[in-house]
């Protein structure tokens, strides 16, 4: 029996190819994601292990505040800790480490790197001896006062020359240094794509910290014969409160864990799309097996009549699924390596440059890909196989109709209805708080429900969608319409895969359009200035506050409000919160955040402004106090000096620069919002601001309109990335159409021969097949678009309490998606149409 199943599988190689391809794509995506994230993970693991490989003890502040999204901010420790630690017995070498934002400006005047999206741009104190992860290259020397050494990667990218005077942007503004050397990190020019500027310790403290005698950490190399545990314990014994000592192994493990945490977000994001592609593949496999089972019902009936048991027929079908699943998974697994490269290129194209070293192909990747691919295939084939086993032996003798039944049944209506309803309930429950997984499960149930209901509407819908096609397509159009309508189960199953893909594409398109409108709306109403100087940095580095000071001194400028982001520990609730820090003198003249009591301008160093929702939730009123803890270990009691209603830009809390500057963190404006006086023309004001901004190579000057458009365009960037990732699922869906049409043609060989015999031209046959594909694709895209709009609407309603008030159905984008879907269907049918058109007439008619 195994042999029979094997032979029959091999005999259908071509029929199964499309199915295998869809499994392959899904598995390749899955394997690619795992390979990609494993590779990044290994790269960073190696990087951190390299940085700390000679570190036996790492001394740092105990205070750390969570910034969200896996990032955190840690306080610094006094500079004299270096001497304290160096004096501990067992310590061989102790070096103070200072690290902060520093962006190197290339010879063309552009700042290198993009710290907002890619690897960090670091400034560090140069450490000599074994503790240093950096090796100076030939012709280089350690930096002294007024000198800098940079990583070899930036040296090449920036087209710089030793001995040049180069500009480095830091917290304290642009600085000029003499370039005295380059350094390599182990064997790489630029570790993980990060750029590094190395200074001597006093210079680093001056330019990176603004002169504070502090260090981020003390790195210790133990004296010969002293273990890292022993030296760490000795050091810990002399440290004051608030300072801690970690062993080298601990600091490596901690940084690696943190990185993995950040990476797991990316992994989950990509895996979601891999799962979507696999779900669409399920629909494709299910459909193909249904068709194959129908076409083979006579063969199976023959087997049954000569003595095959139901179970034998069932196993033979399932074996076919196993062979298919395993084969496709193996190929998909190896294709995954190529996909990993593609994912990296794609992320890079969208500005997210993730460093990756040698490809990591883990056993876990292989096992996961093989299991998922095989199980998905078998699970999708179970129902069709069960149906195969129920073919009565008599079907071998009598002509039993192919599954052409109308599919109109109460059972179908009830099943489909229950599934869809359950899906809607899960979807809504997920959206209203129970989690994203439930949303996903709900969406899947809705898809399956609509898939089950599909045959009920496929015939009338195919007929009405096909009506214009029948009108323009002549006899080929009429035949296409009838063919699409004559087997509603198959038509709706075939369109079903495309429905899933299109629904997701439409849902994110709708959400993106809504978010774009929201962005325009928010900035239009809440930002009242004329120009914006922005940096790409968000959370790390930014524009030196010097710029805002310079701008505010200019006669053309009425107010230039530098906006900073900070984080504090809410002492009462023991959670870390983010805040916006503003200059009270300027912010109120550039922003309208809807103050109901108090004013931006009156905000003091000991005051805080609170969003009304947050104030209500916490029962805060004017004059109440909040206690905030900061990374430098200080705790401040802040008085509520105002309540505002528009939290879209301002977030939950607003404090003053004066307070933020006392929290021990580097001071950066992520953007400076400018209102001009109007005394001079806009053009000359812009020219003057541009002159002032010029030395800050990482800052970009835009008019109000340009800035708002750019903010909205960031949404498009994410949208395009998601389109790219969903493309896999859509391709799988189109394969489903190609496959199904191709199988239908195989089944209708005689009929096609007859049509040819009675005078239908090749061209007419081909166009009938293509039109049929167009109708099926139109059915799938229309259903998908309708579902997608519903999903988008549900999501936007949920986001309403987050301030996303608008709901926008982008008509033109929807039309483009539907047209692309239909064209895709037609393109998918090109080959089957060619085969149908080139059938040998006599042989086709003689076909049993």
């Amino acid at each position: 029996m195994w042999k029979i199943a094997l032979k029959s599988t091999l005999a259908k190689k071509r029929r199964l190819f499309g199915t295998a391809l869809s499994v392959m794509i899904g598995v390749a995506f899955l394997a690619g994601t795992l390979v990609f994230t494993d590779t990044i993970g290994r790269t960073f693991d190696d990087l951190f292990a390299g940085i700390y490989d000679d570190t036996d003890t790492y001394v740092r502040s105990e205070t750390s505040i969570d910034l969200g999204q896996g990032a955190s901010q840690r306080g610094r420790i006094p500079g004299d800790m270096v001497a304290t630690v160096a004096a501990v017995p067992g310590v061989g070498e102790a070096e103070g480490l200072v690290a902060g934002y520093a962006q190197i400006v290339g010879s063309d005047g552009d700042a290198l790197g993009n710290p907002g999206q890619g690897a960090p741009t670091l400034g560090m104190s140069h450490i000599s001896g074994e503790l240093s992860p950096w090796q100076l290259t030939d012709g280089s020397r350690a930096p002294g006062p007024g000198e800098v050494v940079i990583d070899r990667g930036s040296y090449q990218k920036g087209d710089l020359t030793l001995g040049d005077t180069i500009t480095v942007l830091t917290q304290t503004g642009p600085h000029e240094f003499t370039l005295v050397g380059t350094a390599r990190f182990g064997s790489v020019d630029s570790p993980g794509g990060a750029s590094v500027a190395l200074f001597d310790l006093p210079t680093a403290q001056q330019v990176l910290l603004g002169g504070a005698d502090e260090v981020d950490a003390v790195m210790v190399h133990a004296a010969p014969g002293v273990s890292e545990e022993d030296v760490t314990a000795s050091i810990a014994a002399v440290l004051p409160d608030g300072v801690e000592a970690l062993t080298g192994s601990e600091i490596i493990a901690e940084t690696q864990d943190l990185m993995r945490e950040g990476l797991s977000f990316l992994k989950t994001f990509l895996l979601v799309f891999a799962v979507i592609a696999l779900v669409v593949a399920c629909f494709t496999i299910y459909n193909t097996f249904q068709i194959i089972v129908t076409q083979r019902s006579r063969e199976m009936a023959l087997l049954r009549s000569v003595g095959a048991t139901r179970r034998q027929v069932l196993w033979a079908q399932l074996l076919e699924a196993v062979i298919l699943g395993v084969t496709a998974s193996v190929i998909g697994l190896f294709a995954g390596v190529a996909v990993a490269g593609g994912l990296k290129a794609m992320m890079a194209a969208f500005g997210i440059d993730i460093p990756a070293g040698g490809t990591v192909f883990g056993a876990r990747t292989a096992i996961a890909a093989m299991l998922v691919g095989t199980i998905v295939t078998i699970a999708s084939a179970v129902f069709p196989s069960l149906r195969a086993s129920k073919v009565p032996p008599l079907a071998a003798i009598r002509d039993i109709a192919a599954d052409a039944g109308g599919g109109r049944s109460r059972g179908r209506l009830i099943q489909g209805g229950v599934l869809t309803l359950g899906g809607v309930i899960a979807f809504v429950a997920g959206l209203t708080g129970s989690g994203l997984l439930l949303v996903g499960v709900g969406a899947l149930l809705i898809f399956v429900g609509v898939f089950v209901l599909g045959p009920l509407i496929a015939r009338p819908v195919a007929r009405s969608l096909g009506a214009p096609i029948a009108a323009v397509g002549g006899v080929a159009g009429v035949i296409a319409r009838e063919n699409a309508g004559r087997n509603p189960k198959r038509t709706s199953r075939t369109g079903g895969a495309l429905m899933v893909g299109v629904a997701l594409v439409v849902a994110i398109t709708v959400i993106a359009a809504t978010a774009r409108d929201w962005t325009h709306d928010v900035f239009a109403k809440q930002f009242t200035g004329d120009f914006v100087v922005s940096s790409s940095a968000l959370g790390f580095g930014g524009i030196s506050p010097e710029l805002a000071t310079t701008l505010n001194a200019m006669p053309e400028v009425e107010a230039a409000a530098g906006i900073r982001i900070g984080a504090a520990r809410d002492m009462e609730r023991e959670v870390d919160v983010q805040y916006i820090a503003v200059d009270p003198a300027t912010a109120g003249r550039v922003f309208d955040i809807g103050m109901t009591t108090g004013s931006l301008g009156a905000l003091t160093e000991n005051g805080i402004l609170v969003d009304n929702d947050r104030a209500d939730a916490r029962g805060l009123a004017m004059g109440d106090t909040i206690e905030f803890g900061f990374v430098n270990g200080t705790t401040r009691t802040l008085t509520v000096e105002g309540i505002y209603t528009k939290d879209d830009l301002a977030g939950a809390y607003v404090v003053s620069h004066a307070l933020h500057e006392q929290t021990g963190v580097d001071q950066f404006d992520f953007s400076v919002y400018i209102a001009t006086t109007g005394d001079v023309g806009a053009a000359s004001a812009e020219a003057a601001i541009a002159d002032a901004t010029a030395p800050y190579a990482n800052a970009k000057l835009q008019s109000r309109a340009e800035y708002i458009d750019a903010q909205a365009a960031q949404i498009d960037q994410i949208l395009n990335l998601m389109y790219g990732l969903l493309a896999m699922a859509v391709i799988v869906a189109l394969i489903s159409i190609a496959n199904s049409i191709s199988l239908s043609i195989h089944e209708r060989t005689r009929e096609l021969g007859l049509l040819r015999a009675v005078g239908m031209t090749r061209h007419q046959i081909g166009s009938a097949v293509r039109w049929e594909a167009a109708i099926v694709a139109l059915l799938g895209t229309t259903l998908g678009a309708a579902l997608g709009v519903c999903f988008g609407w549900a999501l936007s309603v949920t986001l309403r309490h987050e301030g996303l008030m608008a709901f926008n159905i982008p008509g033109r984008s929807l039309a483009v998606i539907v047209v692309i879907g239909v064209l895709g269907g037609v393109i998918a049918s090109v080959r089957p149409a060619w085969r149908a058109a080139h059938l040998d007439v006599l042989r086709a008619i003689a076909t049993e």
């Binding site: 042999k3 029959s8 003595g307 008599l394």
Partner: protein
């Protein structure tokens, strides 16, 4: 005493039989009584032909006797086994081990070679085919040099002879043939019928054949005529002309 020692007459002389067999398709106005109380037995080692006009119930009788279809009332036996008491699994095993089939068309699995098709019931049962018996059958059916060909590489006559070999490989109690010559030209049909006749005489194989073709029926030991679900006549060792006369009487 002698009477006591004489073995009682056994039912093995009858390979299959139907008792008061009734088969009704549809309900109410569309009700069709395909079999209307048929009682008949098929003797071992003989070739029996069932004839009758379209809709007379001859194929239904065959399917019900073979366990492919179930009776509305009455009983059907293969040997001593009452088919109406069997579930699907037992019926399947019975078909596999004790009955052989030859259909009008689509007799062979297209992806398997002739030899694999012939041994299919054994393979399904997880048993090894008797090679000597396979060779004997192949030789007597004149397909010994076609065994490694696929069905698409065989003529229609050869395909039917492969099906006949498959039907006889398990040494079944009886072979059912449903219009075995229906798709064959007259030369191939004659060859198949002659070889079938030889198998009946040479191996003592019991064969029940449904046919439209009077010439095919003339190879039978016994011809049973059905009309409107009832047996209306039977002939033993008939001449072709007798059969044709009978058919004329039935209006076929």
């Amino acid at each position: 005493m002698a009477a006591v020692l004489t073995p009682a007459p056994t039912t093995t002389a009858v390979a299959a039989r139907a008792v008061d067999a009734v088969k009704v398709y549809g309900q109410g106005a569309t009700e069709v009584r395909a079999l209307d109380g048929v009682t008949i037995g098929f003797e071992t080692g003989r070739l029996t032909a069932i004839m009758g006009p379209s809709g007379s119930g001859k194929s239904t009788l065959l399917y019900c006797l073979a366990g492919l279809d179930s009776l509305t009332s009455g009983t059907a036996y293969i040997g001593d086994t009452n088919l109406t008491t069997l579930n699907d699994k037992s019926l399947t095993v019975l078909r596999r081990d004790r009955v052989g089939f030859v259909f009008q068309a689509f007799n062979l699995v297209p992806t398997l070679t002739a030899a694999e098709n012939i041994t299919l019931p054994m393979a399904l049962a997880g048993k090894r085919a008797d090679d000597a018996w396979l060779q004997t059958l192949a030789t007597s059916l004149r397909i010994q040099d076609r065994l490694h060909h696929r069905p698409s590489e065989l003529s229609g006559g050869q395909q039917q002879r492969v099906a006949a070999a498959r039907a006889m490989l398990t040494r079944p109690v009886l072979v059912f043939a449903d219009e075995p010559t229906g798709n064959l030209d007259s030369r191939a049909a004659t060859e198949l019928l002659e070889l079938t006749r030889a198998a009946v005489e040479g191996f003592g194989q019991t064969v029940v054949m449904v046919t439209h073709d009077a010439r095919a029926a003339s190879y039978a030991d016994r011809v049973v005529f059905l009309a409107d679900g009832r047996i209306v006549e039977e002939l033993h060792h008939p001449k072709l002309d007798d059969i044709l006369d009978q058919l004329k009487g039935l209006g076929a």
